[in-house]
């Protein structure tokens, strides 16, 4: 069967070759022997030339006529500028009627205030108020111009020198608003094509800065050094042209969203191993951590030159407004021309700069304020004193339904629900309930996490207490008793 097929095929092929070759094998045109395949090739070329001369078919481009554009514009209906207002959008925060110190007045009643980040108790400090008054009388309130156009007042330069001297760095630069510091610094250094490794729990200011920088962003697990190491390893493995790409690690010293403290010594080891630069946001640790309040570097005993860029908002421990960024001379000089929040914005009001100078002077002259802050935090978290009736005071370590999720030394004491309701909206409802009841019934003012719809952070929500060196022991006892009582009743059905 197979051989029969084979025979037939060979016979057919022979016939074809004979048919082709036979007559033409004898044809000689113009002295060229014409073989069979030449005819096929000539035919093919003729067909190609024929096709090329045909007009190609392109569907005709019909631009929209004016009438069609008019119709489309008529039809188009925009969404409203704002979504419909739901009930939880209507909540108003309480209005303070006096300074936001450890005790403040809300609705005519005096309340204990754990909602202001007044870590050193400098709100209401006489020396600071005096320096502000003399500054107001000399310079007025505003500076009326950006730094480049006669908005640089000598107090700004004095403040920058003072901060640099305090931190032990060569130079520093002042920004006019706390949150704009970090989201101007990051785009000034990180451009398209650079690599940034950031913690997933950074606050919105950092996220906005990362987004504006257009670099490649990789997040690692919140405060997890193993995850950071794996990420750095993955990014630098086999990357040959890494000399031209700038690489940064962005972390916060004390995370606003969770109260954790970043382990700087491990980060510096990793940074030196993989050649990354570190950008550290010290808004809540400047004036709090370290023996003299110089921040995370002092706390871990790391020389401050190893951190490339340190930024901080001054609206917390220093009780003024604005922010600063400090580092080497190269780092600071670069920002004076390329940081948009510095170049295109009016400078800090001079009285706030003099308040910052007085605050730093106070901190340098009274390091005991740091020990009171630390003992207040310890008291709140763990208790450890017995009151007059010898009742052991347990602090916040045994509040029903809530656990302390922050580092023991963090001035933001962060409590989260032991058992979540499943959605952050539900959690927030419970927590807001607790905060409202504490304000109304016990005159204690605490706050829950506030999260914007634009925030990408997915860490759990909780209650935040900002401890101050100005709080007394009775304040701390009051807040923990109140929290224990209100949490027990509010979370009873939930537990």
């Amino acid at each position: 069967m197979a051989s029969a097929v084979m025979n037939m095929t060979t016979a057919a092929l022979d016939w074809v070759s004979v048919a082709f070759d036979a007559p033409l094998a004898r044809a000689v045109v113009f002295g060229v022997h014409i073989d069979g395949h030449l005819v096929v090739e000539v035919l093919l070329i003729a067909v190609i030339l024929f096709q090329l001369t045909r007009k190609s078919y392109k569907p005709p481009k019909k631009p929209l006529t004016e009438k069609e554009i008019d119709d489309l514009c008529e039809e188009w209906v925009p969404e409203p500028l704002h979504p419909s207002i739901s009930e939880d959008m209507k909540a108003e925060p309480p209005t303070l009627e006096s300074a936001a110190g450890p005790h403040t007045i809300i609705d005519g009643k005096e309340v204990v205030n754990f909602a202001s980040a007044n870590y050193l108790g400098l709100i209401g400090n006489e020396k600071i108020i005096d320096s502000c008054v003399s500054s107001l009388e000399k310079y007025g309130v505003g500076s009326c111009g950006p730094r480049g156009f006669y908005g640089t007042i000598d107090v700004h330069l004095d403040c920058e020198e003072r901060i640099a001297k305090f931190m032990g760095t060569p130079d520093s630069i002042l920004y006019s608003y706390g949150i704009s510091t970090i989201f101007s610094v990051i785009p000034a250094f990180c451009k398209k094509g650079d690599i940034i490794v950031a913690d997933e729990g950074v606050h919105w200011g950092v996220q906005n800065g990362l987004h504006l920088s257009r670099s490649t962003i990789v997040y690692f697990k919140h405060n997890d050094m193993k995850s950071l190491e794996n990420t750095l390893e993955k990014l630098t493995r086999g990357n040959k042209q890494a000399e031209k790409i700038r690489r940064y690690i962005v972390v916060e010293a004390v995370y606003q969203n969770s109260g954790q403290i970043a382990p700087l010594d491990e980060i510096i080891q990793l940074k030196e191993k993989y050649h990354f630069r570190v950008i550290l946001d010290e808004s809540h640790s400047f004036g709090v951590l370290g023996n003299s309040g110089r921040g995370l570097a002092e706390y871990y005993g790391v020389p401050v030159e190893k951190i490339d860029i340190i930024t901080a908002g001054m609206g917390n421990a220093l009780a003024t407004d604005g922010g600063f960024c400090t580092g080497s001379v190269r780092v600071v000089d670069h920002q004076r021309l390329s940081s948009s929040g510095y170049v295109f914005s009016a400078s800090l009001p001079p009285y706030l700069a003099s308040a910052a100078i007085s605050a730093v002077n106070y901190l340098e002259g009274n390091p005991s304020v740091l020990t009171s802050l630390r003992s207040n935090i310890a008291l709140l978290c763990k208790g450890e004193f017995c009151d007059k009736l010898h009742n052991a005071f347990a602090g916040l370590s045994d509040v029903p339904g809530l656990t302390i999720a922050s580092h023991p030394l963090s001035p933001i004491v962060f409590l989260k629900l032991k058992k979540s309701t499943g959605s952050s909206k539900g959690d927030l409802e419970l927590l807001n309930n607790i905060a409202d009841r504490m304000l109304k019934e016990d005159s204690v003012f605490i706050v829950s996490t506030k999260r914007s719809v634009l925030d990408k952070c997915r860490l759990p929500v909780g209650i935040r207490l900002f401890v101050s060196a100005g709080h007394s022991e009775s304040d701390i006892q009051k807040v923990s008793d109140s929290l224990r009582r209100v949490a027990a009743t509010t979370l009873a059905e939930h537990l």
Binding site: C73, C144, L157, S180, W204, P349
Partner: protein, 490 residues
Amino acid sequence: MVRLPYLTALTTLFSYGLLFAFGQLRDFFRKIIDWSKSTSKGLEGYAPICLGLEDFYTRRLYLRIQDCFCRPIASAPDAWIDVVERYSNDNNKTLHRTSNTTKCLNLGSYNYLGFAAADEYCTPRVIESLKKYSSSTCSIRVDGGTTDLHNELEELVARFVGKPAAITFGMGYVTNSAIIPILIGKGGLIISDSLNHNSIVNGARGSGAAVRVFQHNNPSHLEEVLRELIAEGQPRTHRPWKKIIVIVEGIYSMEGELCQLPEIISVCKKYKAYTYLDEAHSIGAVGKTGRGVCELLGVDPADVDIMMGTFTKSFGSCGGYIAASKEIIRYLKYGCPAHLYATSMSPPAVQQVISAIKVILGEDGSSRGAQKLAHIRENSNFFRSELQKMGFEVLGDSDSPVMPIMLYNPAKIPAFSRECLKQNVAVVTVAFPATPLLLARARICISAAHSREDLIKGLEVISKVGDLVGIKYFPAEPPNHQGHDHKKLE
């Protein structure tokens, strides 16, 4: 509009070319010298902060004329300031302060209504609120940062501007960067004027919406762009846009021009786009009662969807505001990141704005507000007409307190600035990148605190320096005509 003479364009390009060539030559020698020296310790393996041409402009052009910018002052930014003298030992690379100051006429600060220095009505109240509320609340607005001063300010601003409600922030730049992302996101379209401020550009980029630009102050081009984009839909998917916001400014700070607001509003209404008006330089400075560009051009504030402004310029304080309908403000208070994450405005600064607005409205019991407004209008119109008569090329519309004088050539920038300083007049010069490369200018900001003698002295100095430097691009009016006008005004 700027009319760039052909010869000037050529000479300017030639100057920049020469500077560029010299800069490259110096860079080449620097590379050779650095190659022979060892690289600094501790930085091997790290990419440099700026590579190649990224900071070429800074190193080779800006540093030569660094003493014209960032001049420190030792007094309030009022009509006369004490400019601190600086010296340099290394050809302007680093500048050091001395303790000597020179008293100069201030033609550069944004002090439109003269609230910059201590004011008789505002300062006592500011000091009182400082003693009551301290210098900061150390807290975000939604936590413990709202005092009754903040609420009072928001109601007052809403009433002043003519909208139902308002919200305030501690910094004008952050107002724009944090509001635009919450109003519009992916799937939306932002159409902004080509010369908008950096904060608007940043806010638009941060929002994730598509951004298109229309020719500066050109309502017919805006209409073309709107028609084309609505018909086309979103890029690639051609789905209809979710919403469209058109962003314009009241007074453009580098041109001194007023926005063509009535035409732009009518175009936006026709195509159902939302309007966002940034009145940073115009609120409090123009308009019969200081209510800004809407009052000046006769536009009803209800026609503009969102009005934004800052307190830095006319009110002598710091911060920004947004005024819009009650629902929009409620939504912003719920979701705006600057409201939820940034420290609230410092209470003394809030009190300064409240007092300043009360003075402008006349609610302090005197007519100082109306006097200031009339003063700034007279001063601006007088100064501008005199400059134009002298032959300078001055941009901007009448009634606007911002007047740029064109310089063009890069060498004239430091020449003009230093010569004026020698004669005790402090001016601001602006070059690339704040303006296009060929269009460098000196920008004058007039204040209600300037008296007529101050302005005349300023004019004399500028005229002398203008002759010296050669920037009178237009023919001056004949002197007898000028003299006649002088007599009329005095």
